[in-house]
Symmetry: C2
Subunit: 192 residues, 2 copies
């Protein structure tokens, strides 16, 4: 995904050794041309895999999920809700996670009838760093007894432990851009 | 949009005279085939209008915005964030609104550089009832000095005052399904 790496280098802003702002194209303003390339690439990587549901978490993941769905036969997208929303049906799967960005713990939830043991699931999300959100989504797939086909991540901070940890459990994680290191002075260095 | 009305009748669940659950296709699980029809219809209604930005609010609006963008030359989608997120840039437009669903007031925010006086904006959202979210989004368009082309709503509860109020200000609001009344006993009755 050299084109995506170039785009991330051009559009992303490294604010510190740990913070990459991508709000011009990924999680505040959304470039749907970029997302279309992301969706195509997820399809290419999971080309021979049967997927009938895409799972993500609000809010940024929704955009990725909906555009990616179009390359997976328009399969339904389910987004986990943050918190135990009042207007959710009572019967839901829950998983708790720690947000390093916000410095708090919270719960994500998926109504049970939207994820079942019949489902072959591709999880998508914008970032993978410590892996908290991904682990919570994987837990929900497991609770549902669904089959986890794999995960599709736009940007992985490969210098943080989430990706290695999840792959070590035998779970397939495809990240389109893996960042080896970054700094305000030197910008972004991608893994080979 | 008879096909959308039929779909809403078939898939939506009327829980009370005021609550229509659409979480099987619109705001928890997302049917991207349905959303594609929504996007096409927004394009048809705003066919001769120049739109270079789609504005919505997290979370449900993101899906509608991203699919609709594909029928508006893949223009960028900006979603207003709820609350004054810690990882937002400092310079943002804000508008406050009351959520009848949650029973609380909150603020939505858009970073200034993603909405400017150059923009011709289509606002999209899933529901229009009291119009609180739409009024807040319109306020942000106004603060930015952008041109508001109009609003595209999937489901309007026409028996609540938001739609009439906003239209009375000369703002174009296109709702694909306008509900005249609904009840658990009799289901949904649409406006002609």
């Amino acid at each position: 995904m050299d084109s995506l790496k170039k785009y991330i280098t051009a559009e992303g802003r490294v604010l510190s050794d740990d913070i990459l702002k991508v709000d011009s194209f990924l999680n505040h303003q959304i470039d749907t041309v970029f997302l279309t390339e992301v969706g195509k690439e997820f399809r290419r990587r999971y080309n021979n895999c049967e997927v009938n549901k895409i799972l993500t978490v609000e809010a940024s993941g929704i955009a990725i999920g909906c555009v990616t769905s179009q390359f997976f036969d328009n399969c339904p997208v389910v987004f986990a809700k943050k918190g135990q929303a009042k207007n959710m049906s009572g019967d839901a799967y829950h998983a708790s996670l720690h947000s390093y960005t916000r410095g708090t713990d919270f719960v994500i939830s998926v109504t049970k009838k939207y994820l079942t043991s019949e489902d072959k699931v591709l999880i998508v999300d914008d970032f993978l760093a410590n892996g908290e959100a991904l682990k919570a989504l994987i837990s929900i797939v497991s609770q549902a007894g669904a089959e986890l086909v794999g995960c599709g991540i736009v940007i992985e901070k490969a210098y943080q432990p989430g990706g290695d940890l999840i792959r070590s459990q035998g779970i397939r994680v495809e990240s389109l851009a893996r960042i080896k290191s970054m700094s305000v002075e030197n910008g972004i260095e991608f893994c080979e």
